[in-house]
Amino acid sequence: MTDLAHLRADFPILDSGVHFLDSSASSQKPAPVLEAMDRFARTSYANVHRGAYRLSLAATDAYEAARRRVADFIGAANPSEVVFTRGTTTSLNMVAFGWGIENLLPGDRILTTVMEHHANLVPWQMVAKRTGAVLDHVPLTDDCRLDMRVLGEKMVPGVRIVAVSGMSNVLGTIPDVPAISSLAHAVGARVVVDAAQLVPHAGVDVSTLGSDFVAFSSHKMLGPTGIGVLWGRMEALEEMEPFEGGGEMISDVTLHDATWAPIPHRFEAGTPPIIEAVGLHAAIDYLDSVGMDKIYAHDQELTAVALERLSDVPGLVLHGPAGIEARGGVVSMTMEGTHAHDLATILDEGDVAVRSGHHCAKPLMRELGVTATARASFYLYNTEDDIDALVAGLRRAGEIFGVR
């Protein structure tokens, strides 16, 4: 087992004894991240980009250094391709509304999948309704993988944009984005990847990923809430209209007209999440100091252990691929005759924190034939001990509900 247990000391919240298995919803924050933000706010804070005084310059430098750090972390050619947003949801809405409304015509096709998080589905529904474009969905195979055969069939000329999850937050499934991107580009479609789970748990290298846009959130990768990223290939960003108007994003404004600032500022209207950018920078430093490869390997090892031990729990049904190949550290489960909320409550009594519900993926729940699942998700601070507590709690639930 990749030994990362020594990192637990960096996460103050774990002192309470919680078995935190809900990192897919949001990760905990290590002390160095909290300290970086606090220090910055105490010594170098000011608004960015407009001050000629030194504090403002210090803040601007910190903010732009965070942008370069993100670019470096995801292998972006150019820091200007990194747009700071409020989170994955806003990043995806920016693409849907900024690119979609601008570029989609009636009858054009938007191709997505049945396993998307609402953040990568609802905006496209809204945009389809406004533009008259047609929304279509790629199904899953029996092993909860994206059905690449059907995807190939649906990737026809007329498909203008493909919106796909980089890693399912319910199943852990990691689709082959490079292959999907090749197919999409062959028909002239752009590809936007919801990488809310992929970036924190596997990392991405946009120079080989193949997609045109990548969206992710700081709060799921050890960073603060309130900030996220939209990366876009420069030529794709150039096709996009600003999603919001306001300060910082303009070149000139008259009473009736405005022209836009260069990319990325054009897409960052208003005061950005400055302190949060500093926190995200520190989070990336932390992740890199551990190593994304190690983190992914660690998640996978825990997943393998979990799948094995959970297979013995009476009445438990696991939802997701059978193996751990191309799969992140997420295990969704249901128990016969026992609702996911009841599982979560009972687990919580043993200090095991798992999420229960539809995980913002209601269409996927219907595909799986359930209304809710309990979901355990792993991150670098989890250990086998957490899995033991999970298994014990599930057994207790089975006893209470008389499952055998």
Binding site: I13, S16, G17, V18, G337, T338, H339, A340, H341, D342, T345, I346, E349, G350, D351, S356, G357, H358, K362, T371, A372, R396, I400, F401, G402
Partner: protein, 160 residues
Amino acid sequence: MAAPHGTVTVVTMALEDLYREVILDHYRNPRNRGHLEHADATAQGVNPLCGDEVTIELELSDGVVTGVAVEGQGCSISQASASMMTEVVKGKTRAQIGDLVAKFRGMMSLEDGVDPELDPERPGSVLGDLEALQGVRQYPVRIKCASLPWNTLMEALSST
């Protein structure tokens, strides 16, 4: 085990107090499940934050509930609460149901202390089996589950 963490202090009690046998029984064998031939009032309630659903149909005659049916899905607490509710509302007037709802809400309220009248073991208790739901109060996040059928009931009644 189960030491409270976070800023909210939760008194941990035995799970057995939450999942009393009568609740599990109503969950497994829900009463008055299905549809009415001629519903006079109907309402659907959803808890958008957890996905629990309850649909209630009522037959009313002279302001008295003469029939009730429930459909829905969700956790043991919401579904048992719905089932138990159907048992106490039948034959009640609107005013009596208003009273019941107030009693029930009082029982769920975190502010009020435990009402000694609400003892499920006591014969002739006001809320019947429902009083077994008192344990829910210790699990604030589940109170919405228990309340869903009641809010939906009030909506159905106010729709007529």
